[in-house]
């Protein structure tokens, strides 16, 4: 069991962190996800890929957590800075933080689809399977997520409107 958790915990944590924007919340959801997965392992259809099933449970837990957070407006979601030790990291860090902030503004289903596609490199079919949505819907969500993120970065002047080049800060 520990081997299974250790094999997938990074991926699940990555998704939860991008969905929730907070390390503690993400760790709690990862824990909940694996407890649920291990208890229901017998229900997993062996003919389906494991990862979409795992991400589906993690995504559902994240959306529930987000809904709970919305019902309690006093608890503010915030973007937790992630230390970046690369040389000349300041502009990259700024752009990365802005993208993460932009992700927070997206609808949760757009965000989940976008993160699964661009950061977890799942195929459209796997994402459709994970989210139990038609393939066309998933493609549309990811496309709209991209456009909304670009618009957000333009408004924040991270991508310059005149040239659309990545602005160096």
């Amino acid at each position: 069991m520990l081997a299974l958790v250790e094999r997938f915990q990074g991926q699940v944590f990555g998704l939860c962190y991008r969905m929730l924007g907070n390390r503690e919340d993400a760790e709690d959801i990862v824990q909940e996800t694996f407890v649920r997965v291990l208890k229901n392992l017998a229900k997993w259809d062996h003919e389906r890929d494991f990862e979409p099933w795992l991400f589906a449970i993690a995504g559902n837990r994240c959306r529930t957590a987000l809904a709970t957070r919305r019902r309690r407006p006093t608890v503010q979601a915030f973007i937790e800075p992630v230390p970046d030790h690369r040389p000349d990291a300041a502009p990259a860090k700024h752009l990365a933080e802005e993208v993460q902030l932009g992700l927070e503004q997206l609808r949760s289903d757009y965000r989940q689809a976008f993160v699964l596609f661009h950061q977890h490199e799942l195929s459209y079919e796997q994402i459709a399977d994970t989210m139990s949505r038609p393939l066309g819907t998933v493609k549309t969500w990811i496309h709209r997520a991209r456009l909304e993120l670009i618009r957000f970065l333009q408004q924040r002047e991270v991508i310059e409107d005149a040239s659309y080049a990545v602005r160096r800060v």
């Binding site: 962190y17 993400a26 824990q31 694996f34 291990l38 670009i150």
Partner: protein, 213 residues
């Protein structure tokens, strides 16, 4: 070289995005973008976003996350076992209660018959007869022992077992207290058993006080 149309540009851009290719390095798109301001903006926007995504550092998580998951699983398993134990105890108590009720009824009838002498007697009733199915002293002792052991099994300090179940069904604890009280009542109904009644009202007897307060 044929100049790419805007529709073709969009199609190719989408294809590259679907394939997770670097759109800013595609020469055909670059060529078209140089001559088309609108498509150029689209291309630079997408390229900027993808660059930003690549720059997001990978978040790190607690090293003991896997062990925390396993600890949580163990706690859940223990709770589940406790819940099963409580349900089994309740079911056993219910079965015993149902089995004992007719015996208690017999005793009540036995007492009533003796108090009233079996109706109006104009002549001496003669030697007293033992009614059919009445308790013998041995039965009474056996039953008393059984009730005593059940009381021990089901006594008040064991009610802490109900805590996990309380979280799921708040009615379980009062139910357990009711069973507890029923045992005490039944035990008092046994022939030859005498137990001084508590000075306090029955409503405050055997744990009800704590649950009420």
């Amino acid at each position: 070289m044929r100049v790419m149309q805007c529709a073709e540009f969009e199609q190719r851009l989408q294809q590259l995005l679907d394939d997770r290719q670097k759109v800013e390095q595609d020469s055909l798109l670059q060529e078209h973008a140089r001559g088309c301001d609108a498509c150029g903006r689209v291309l630079r926007g997408q390229a900027g976003l993808l660059a930003g995504l690549r720059m997001i550092p990978k978040p790190t998580f607690a090293a003991d996350l896997g062990h925390r998951v396993l600890d949580q699983l163990r706690i859940d398993q223990r709770k589940r076992n406790n819940r099963l134990l409580v349900i089994a105890a309740l079911a056993a108590a219910a079965v015993i209660m149902v089995a004992l009720l007719p015996l208690a009824g017999d005793r009540v009838r036995f007492q009533r018959d003796h108090e009233h002498g079996g109706g109006i007697a104009l002549v001496s009733p003669g030697p007293q007869q033992t009614p059919k199915n009445a308790f013998t002293e041995q039965d009474s002792n056996d039953l008393r022992m059984l009730m005593h052991s059940l009381m021990l099994q089901f006594s008040e300090h064991r009610l802490e077992m109900f805590e996990p179940v309380d979280q799921l069904a708040s009615g379980i604890r009062p139910l357990a207290l009711t069973f507890n009280l029923a045992f005490v009542t039944l035990r008092r109904a046994l022939p030859g058993y005498s137990e001084p009644r508590p000075a306090e009202p029955q409503a405050f007897y055997h744990g009800l006080r704590s649950s009420i307060s």
